[in-house]
Symmetry: C2
Subunit: 190 residues, 2 copies
């Protein structure tokens, strides 16, 4: 089974994390405060986000993050994509938005066995770390914000396997944001 996954994985669709973190590895200050992102806000600069979104057709997102973003934005911004909200509470589908209570690995396997574009992991940290534990993320596009937050939600938790990466690209912006793009080349389960 494990070998099969590896086989499907390479030629198939990829799962990508596109996220911003502080230099000290936080994606939010305490109480989901994302105000630090404003230091890199610049008119007309989206740090490649629109291009990235144009190349995805599927979103995996944790329920808490889904609720948070839906509240902040006023609606779920990925309702036009096939979305899987990872939750423990069953709920009926809303058009292309599915509330998924099953196993993450099974979901990714199923999605990868189908044709399609990139699968976007949109957080939060809990879902990202569950996926990292199972080596379910193929690419990382991490925007490093020029700040030490000192406290908050860490993107990476302990107790994950080693994953060797290949640096694909670095982009440096005049706001001080550095975007690092990696793909996973090997992993070793702890």
């Amino acid at each position: 089974m494990v070998l099969q996954i590896h086989h499907i994985k390479k030629p198939g669709r990829k799962v990508a994390l596109y996220i911003a973190m502080s230099l000290d590895g936080y994606i939010a200050k305490p109480n989901d405060d994302l105000s630090f992102l404003s230091i890199v806000h610049k008119k007309g600069e989206d740090y490649g986000y629109a291009d990235f979104i144009n190349n995805i057709d599927t979103v995996i997102i944790g329920r808490k993050t889904y609720d948070w973003v839906t509240k902040e934005v006023g609606y779920f911004p990925h309702a036009d994509k096939t979305a899987y909200i990872i939750t423990r509470t069953q709920k009926p589908d809303e058009d292309k938005t599915h509330f998924y209570t099953g196993n993450l690995k099974d979901l990714v396997e199923k999605l990868k066995s189908r044709e399609g574009q990139t699968i976007f992991v949109d957080g939060g940290a809990e879902i990202v770390n569950e996926m990292l534990k199972e080596n379910l993320i193929d690419e990382f596009i991490i925007s490093v914000i020029p700040i030490l937050l000192g406290n908050g939600t860490s993107l990476f938790k302990n107790q994950r396997p080693v994953e060797n990466l290949k640096l694909l690209e670095t982009k440096t912006f005049d706001t001080g944001l550095v975007q690092l793009h990696y793909k996973v080349i090997t992993f070793e389960k702890a």
Copy 2:
């Protein structure tokens, strides 16, 4: 007193952290295992280390890291610089190597009030975090190694103040190492 420090700080010598971490923010795997650094070893490439060392005349290093590096290398590699080993156990000086049991902030203030070159903070994480809590580090040169270690010693601990950074430079190497160089511009005590 606080204002005075800020005043001394800007025109004076700077305190710089030069360190390597994995993308997930670890400086070592469990048991002080630094073997992951070998993935970026390349003959003739020192990632600017010799240049950096040529511009320092003082080293601040934790006692555990001092013991570790002295054992690994066979001798203390910064014995030619003025070095402060931060320790709880008093010991007589060994030439330019001082065993310092006092307060870190007092030490940095004292060093900054004197003329001299850059002061190098050589770790470990405990000393780095104590210094970050007091905003005693002016510049960060962080080499991001293309790996997720999943576990180990985190460079940045929780419970630190916010520090706003200015990106000074990014260097990308063909080994996949990305070197980020920042200076601290403002800080807010939590």
